[in-house]
């Protein structure tokens, strides 16, 4: 009797403590659920807050200049009322990013193909790590290198050679025209290309490694060259990932600030020659925001809003392209 009573009591306490323990878990679960949910909502609130701030801040400039802001090249904050147009920084942002991708995409894919297909095994790790380290270098270091080393080298030796080489070729003699400058659109584009190269290479290498060896071996088996395997098997198989990597690179190139401010020359002019100084949206904001006020500051915030919209559309376009590709490929 006594034994049973003891066992009962023990069982009951066990049930009770089990329920308590479970309750404690329930509380923990709920806390965790709400903490993650609040964190997720915070992200949305912060994003919404930033957009709201940009629109409110840009409103005076938006109502004053309207669409003319996009087509006006003059940037004269000292006038009363100030004449402010975003054409030069928008042009500079798009042009530097475009040239950067034009250089970085072929080189980046080339490095990735070399690493996955052609490179001897012992060399793969050192080159792979070197490329990854390139991605870890702070942008200010690129800026300093571009300012002290690349800029003078370009302006004093490489660019004059290109200018005289194309001097008699129509169109090209306008794009590659002197006088050369230590800080230029081209210098900024090169720095950007080097900065986004590791993104493209790292992602391309990773997706190339996902290509089933059987596909490649089959292609080699029917007599394909390495180039044909890359072009007809690897790139089609991995295009989704490749485009994702390139868009990520484009996003970084569009918004890069410090390195570009060092090497682009901060000149509010639209010039055909890529060896001339220019400016970008982020460089303009970085160098002028601190001392700006009123309408002038509002115009700088409007530039920021435009950059935000531009980056948003690039990412959205990338998403859309990826979705279509996936649908066409059948899932």
């Amino acid at each position: 009797m006594t034994d049973m009573a003891i066992e009962d009591a023990v069982a009951q306490t066990m049930v009770a403590s089990r329920a308590r323990a479970l309750n404690a878990f329930k509380f923990g679960d709920a806390t965790f659920y709400w903490m993650t949910r609040i964190a997720a909502i915070c992200v949305l609130l912060i994003l919404g807050g930033i957009i709201a701030y940009l629109i409110v801040g840009a409103w005076p400039a938006l109502t004053t200049y309207g669409l003319n802001f996009l087509s006006t090249q003059r940037w004269a904050p000292e006038l009363d009322p100030p004449v402010l147009g975003g054409l030069a920084p928008i042009y500079g942002t798009l042009l530097t990013s475009a040239i950067a991708l034009l250089i970085a995409v072929p080189v980046g894919l080339g490095v990735a193909v070399f690493l996955t297909e052609l490179c001897p095994q012992w060399l793969r790790r050192p080159i792979g790590i070197a490329v990854e380290l390139l991605a870890g270098i702070p942008s200010i270091i690129y800026g300093m290198w571009g300012f002290f080393v690349l800029g003078p080298a370009l302006a004093n030796t490489i660019e004059p050679a290109i200018v005289s080489f194309f001097a008699r070729v129509p169109v090209l003699n306008v794009i590659f025209a002197g006088p050369t400058s230590n800080q230029s659109i081209f210098n900024a584009s090169l720095i950007l290309a080097i900065m986004v190269l590791p993104f493209i290479t790292a992602i391309a290498r990773d997706v190339f490694l996902t290509v089933p060896p059987v596909l490649k071996e089959a292609a080699y088996g029917v007599g394909c060259t390495t180039w044909e395997v890359v072009r007809s098997v690897m790139v089609p198989y991995t295009r989704v990932g490749l485009i994702g990597g390139i868009m990520l690179a484009l996003g970084r190139a569009l918004g890069e600030t410090m390195a570009v401010t060092f090497v682009i020359g901060n000149a509010f002019r639209v010039q055909a020659s890529i060896f001339a100084p220019g400016t970008t949206i982020s460089a303009a904001i970085a160098s002028e925001f601190a001392e700006s006020a009123d309408l002038y500051q509002s115009a700088l915030i409007l530039l920021g809003l435009l950059l935000f919209v531009l980056t948003f559309f690039v990412l959205a376009a990338a998403r859309l392209m990826l979705m279509q590709l996936r649908r066409r490929a059948g899932g």
Partner: protein, 341 residues
């Protein structure tokens, strides 16, 4: 170059920080121009040792300093750009010059040493307008006689950020050149027709040091520290002058400071045989009827001490103290205009 500036700024910041730790409510608060930050910090350090009262100065730029004093978050604002008597009257503020500096044109041409090159205002303006494109232009040759200059293109370097230095430099150009005065005018930021923009005095100095055949403009201290080649100038009196403390002081002495105009004075292109044409003052703004009278009185005590004992320290850092005759005018303005009691 960058390092020295950074170290100096860091040391100054540390100095201000240490000052702020020890003192209780007695700190003086100010904000504004970056150009006088090193000397204000040095004064603050010495003043703290002598009196126990500290100074917290936020070096955030002239425009931002004016905003801070308008919103009354600081006791005084500092600006390189003098404010007009009308604006000051509207705001209920007084203004006076605190310290001065010289602006010099700096060049990087092979074989040209400091003071070899001579320029005048209209030639300088034509270079910055892009009308004079090469160093062997006849207009430059005429001023330089036997000096051999290359036929290379001139690389113009200007400030990318809004700045009191640009304000005073463009003011001189608009006085010296009619075309500059009508087309570009003068301001903290202007629509530069040619050249590349660099951030801060140190940015322009670094850019000129890097770029062959370039020209830029910086506060004298930066040219001296970075051992840049400065150009001598032909001043308003038609005399050739070199950038020296004496020439800057001559410009300041020739200037007619008028307390009735709130000492509104742009020191460029002053008359006098010895005057350096690109001299600039940096100003202090304070309320006539301050909310916190005790804080205002403390600030005035500090400025009085700086005028009386800070001159030597200013010269050590390549600043030019305000002449005694002007200090007398400023102090009588304090007594009559600022109501600290």
């Amino acid at each position: 170059m960058l390092f020295r500036t950074l170290t100096r700024a860091a040391l100054a910041a540390v100095a201000v920080a240490t000052v702020s730790v020890g003192a209780q409510a007695a700190n003086i608060n100010g904000a504004g121009a970056t150009f006088p930050f090193p000397i204000y910090s040095k004064w603050a350090d010495a003043y703290k040792k002598e009196t126990g009262t500290g100074l917290i100065y936020q070096s955030i730029g002239s425009g931002a300093g004016i905003k801070q004093i308008q919103s009354k978050t600081v006791t005084f604002g500092a600006t390189d750009i003098p404010q007009s008597p009308d604006d000051l009257k509207k705001w209920g503020m007084v203004q006076w010059p605190m310290v001065m500096g010289g602006i010099v044109a700096v060049v990087n041409i092979d074989g040209v040493k400091p003071g070899d090159l001579v320029l005048d205002g209209s030639t300088l303006a034509d270079i910055f307008l892009g009308k004079i494109k090469t160093w062997d232009d006849p207009a430059i040759a005429k001023l330089n006689g036997s000096l051999k200059l290359p036929s290379a293109a001139i690389a113009v370097v200007h400030r990318a950020d809004g700045s009191g230095t640009s304000f005073n430099f463009t003011n001189y150009l608009s006085k010296a050149s009619e075309e500059w005065g009508s087309k570009i005018k003068f301001a903290a930021t202007v629509e530069w027709p040619v050249g590349v923009g660099a951030k801060g005095n140190e940015g322009v100095a670094g850019n000129v040091a890097q770029t062959k055949n370039s020209i830029g403009y910086v506060e004298y201290a930066y040219a001296k520290q970075n051992k840049l080649t400065y150009a001598d100038m032909i001043n308003k009196a038609g005399k050739k002058v070199s950038p020296t403390l004496a020439a800057f002081q001559a410009a300041a002495a020739n200037a007619k400071w008028d307390p009735a105009q709130n000492f509104y004075m742009i020191l460029s292109d002053q008359p006098g045989d010895e005057s350096w044409p690109m001299t600039a003052a940096t100003f202090i703004l304070m309320y006539k009827e301050p909310q916190d009278k005790a804080a205002s009185a403390d600030a005035i005590k500090f400025f009085d001490w700086a005028f009386k004992k800070g001159g030597k320290m200013a010269e050590e850092l390549d600043y030019i103290p305000i002449p005694d005759s002007v200090v007398t005018l400023i102090e009588s303005m304090w007594n009559s205009d600022i109501m600290n009691k």
